[in-house]
Subunit: 292 residues, 4 copies
Amino acid sequence: MVRLKFFIELKYEIVGQPTDFIFNVHAAQTACQSLVSENLWISQPVTCALFTDPGLGNRYIRLRAEPGELSLRYDATVDIQHHLAAPDRVREIPIAELPTETLAYIYPSRYCQSDRLSQLANAEFGALPPGYWRVRAIADWVHRRTKFASGSSNAMTWAVDTVIDHVGVCRDFAHLMIALCRALNIPARFATSIDYGSDPAFGPTDFHAIVEVFMGDRWYLFDPSGMALPMGLIRIGTGRDAADVSFATIFGNVRSFQPVIGVEGIEDSANGIILPHACVDASSTDSGVSGR
Amino acid sequence: MVRLKFFIELKYEIVGQPTDFIFNVHAAQTACQSLVSENLWISQPVTCALFTDPGLGNRYIRLRAEPGELSLRYDATVDIQHHLAAPDRVREIPIAELPTETLAYIYPSRYCQSDRLSQLANAEFGALPPGYWRVRAIADWVHRRTKFASGSSNAMTWAVDTVIDHVGVCRDFAHLMIALCRALNIPARFATSIDYGSDPAFGPTDFHAIVEVFMGDRWYLFDPSGMALPMGLIRIGTGRDAADVSFATIFGNVRSFQPVIGVEGIEDSANGIILPHACVDASSTDSGVSGR
Amino acid sequence: MVRLKFFIELKYEIVGQPTDFIFNVHAAQTACQSLVSENLWISQPVTCALFTDPGLGNRYIRLRAEPGELSLRYDATVDIQHHLAAPDRVREIPIAELPTETLAYIYPSRYCQSDRLSQLANAEFGALPPGYWRVRAIADWVHRRTKFASGSSNAMTWAVDTVIDHVGVCRDFAHLMIALCRALNIPARFATSIDYGSDPAFGPTDFHAIVEVFMGDRWYLFDPSGMALPMGLIRIGTGRDAADVSFATIFGNVRSFQPVIGVEGIEDSANGIILPHACVDASSTDSGVSGR
Amino acid sequence: MVRLKFFIELKYEIVGQPTDFIFNVHAAQTACQSLVSENLWISQPVTCALFTDPGLGNRYIRLRAEPGELSLRYDATVDIQHHLAAPDRVREIPIAELPTETLAYIYPSRYCQSDRLSQLANAEFGALPPGYWRVRAIADWVHRRTKFASGSSNAMTWAVDTVIDHVGVCRDFAHLMIALCRALNIPARFATSIDYGSDPAFGPTDFHAIVEVFMGDRWYLFDPSGMALPMGLIRIGTGRDAADVSFATIFGNVRSFQPVIGVEGIEDSANGIILPHACVDASSTDSGVSGR
């Protein structure tokens, strides 16, 4: 088991009139990820509604802030029990056997227009034997042909742009991998996370976008940007693509500051709590069935 | 109350190898729409799994068909009790008060890239007073500037194309209206239906795409194509856009024939069952809360 | 007659290896615009080939610069004799009568995809009587619905984006107006200029993109961004769209600094030389026939 | 030398009002292609203006047809003296040495958005040694990854679509190859032709789109669709892309029939006139300098 402690600090300057926010910064509660403790602090004395998506375990808060500064700090300690599996044993599931809840993740979405990439996906990956290694080949292909560059994409950039432009940030890597998986009828979804142990070459700790692919009986983690240790990921939100799980959806005219995020690993070998480390196994933190 | 009876006949020629299908042709069961009777007949002796989306009430069947012909016939009689409301009393709901389940419908999706149409929506409709009449103005704007023409769009066409091209079929009208509503933070979703009483000038009865907009405490029906009587609509599926509620999602190489669809109204004034008719009230068949 | 004096200073830092440049900064020589004097100074001792497009009068220099700093300063004094015409007398020319040299300007180009905007152009302007006032209506429509905002577009932005986004810089205004004219079979082209007398609210003097439309027997000037006085424009280059007349096309890895540009009007009433001023007449500086 | 004889029959039904046409069906006259004889027949007694683009040698006719049927038949016999060169000796020309007239063909155009494909072109071909074989590698890459399918694209399809969709007709193959060449600063342009000796598997003789690339001191022919014998091509029109050299540009509401085209080779070995045959040499029919 892995125990990670992190904090997220967000800051905004609200101009003119009260503004609604929906935040998705809370650690998700899934079958494999549980909370040891958490704290939320908001600089304005607002009422703040917390709600949890029953299917996905995403936790949102919604609030209306007054003009002026709004700061939010959330910290939490979570325990993560990864489900590890030998790659050779992780199989793709035929359409006929897919759990009903996973079907929404084979359809195209705003940023993952899988219908448009069907020819490409089949030309590149259609002949590979189905299973974990095929999905890994997709992740590697995206990683290899796409250059990571901050500021190289924007809120309009979708998977087709990333195919053409060969450049992006982590969400673009994720969107492209998801679109390719769906084009092959493999359910794939987008997850936001905080990652412990990422390469400092990529800059200070930030929100990190990754991919979850349904194989066998659960959602397996992939990081096509190659920045993170899968075992060091703390799941925040999951959805069809970035449109669903923005860490902050803001309904008004607001100046945003750069988030400040920190994360540390806690080791307690006496209790079987170890630090995240690289491993070759397929790794999952979500069975896809809430509460399990 | 309205009582409608309809049938849907689908036919395919499957080539080469067994092929998976997901059909969404069953009448939805919502708070306002209930089944009097239904029958499903499939030409091949296949196992056929029926599942219902717990949130939306969509009913799907999934099956694997063998090479050769596959025919499906579904017929049903449904009772629809429309919730009618005086337009002046139907208000838009501010973000802070929207039910959690409706939030997914303010985000952009595959065909409804509302993020892209934000400037347009605000320029055209931002100054109108919020409420039913503003949403009606959006429907009318889409109707007025878009020409209906069979075959004028395809499976790649999204709302931005329809803005530019000024032409489309019913799903394009729906996608554009949905995108504009979402751009104004009004939850809007896509629904497929069978419509009784549509103008015969539009050809034989077919699946018809319409829009549901959340206002007050429920989803109100709009038909920006202007073809249908809202009271004559039988709800099949609802989702973010057409990607979610295709009447047939086919995973293989198949020849498709034109669907044959028929619908009739049943009048039984002794029991308060009337035929659909035009009315100025806002009309809803879904409270947005399953089972109610 | 108007006499204008201007200078352009460009600066680059060339990294690594020798780099080719094509500059288009010289004042064009047309039937209506003639040179009083000009000077060109380049910081590196390079061979510099000057060539003039025989059809358009655009003047280019091409050079290969060594690593290190490259500065260029061009100044010139030009006399401009505007051809003015009463708007009511400026007619659109039917296809059958258009001069051969103008036909290339009714076809779509990189940034002006007129084929895509045909429906829009006809819906908005198809019913107006042909002639100067229709073209003026197009310019006004573009001006009215598009917000000027520095940095709001990039080198990929084309006319369809500007229709959707309602925002742009002067080249976007020009591209949209050109595309709409071509969609109505009116030849229209892109011109770069230095403008005397622009509203200081738009910032320091810069290159300015405008539109030339062929009507009657010549190309008339339009500024859909509404920033400039048509009489204060000095023509640099003209082409199908911005792809043809970039002030600097750079074939390598270079750091570019902001251009510094200055312009002044010279008054000499004894010799009939006046300052540019607003006027209601249609204004042209190019007969479309080189040397005349 | 090769001697080819061909005819083109076009037919239209004009509805309602007189309609302008611009046809580009005449055999071009270039340094290497000369006319033995030609005939033009038009079914309506219209005045018909023939003009030749002085730079490119394209020959156009413009006419206004009355409502009713319009038929046009053009036939010609042309002699083509191919300039052949050993591939190893055909070099790419650096920017600094490119003839001025070729520069327009390194800029992006409507269907060849080379600016968008810069990353792709450099990733795939940037490391190859410049020269004929690199350009051949581009042609082969386009040929290999794109499937030929009639009706798979339309008048909106541009090079980026063909990258994504992996399918197209000959004009799409040509647009993609052109865009990739330009992205590497190699001048490339679009040509329409009639091709003798194409594989009958591609259907009856039709207009055929090919690519001309400037290397050494002239424009070399490439057919990325792989359908034609370069020696069997009769040049009709050349331009930046298909927008410039449509065989018929029609300004009105017209019903078009399928063109009927025939071509035959004439052998006269006594006079050194041979039939087109496959050859490994680089082949050119245009020096890029009109009249030579």
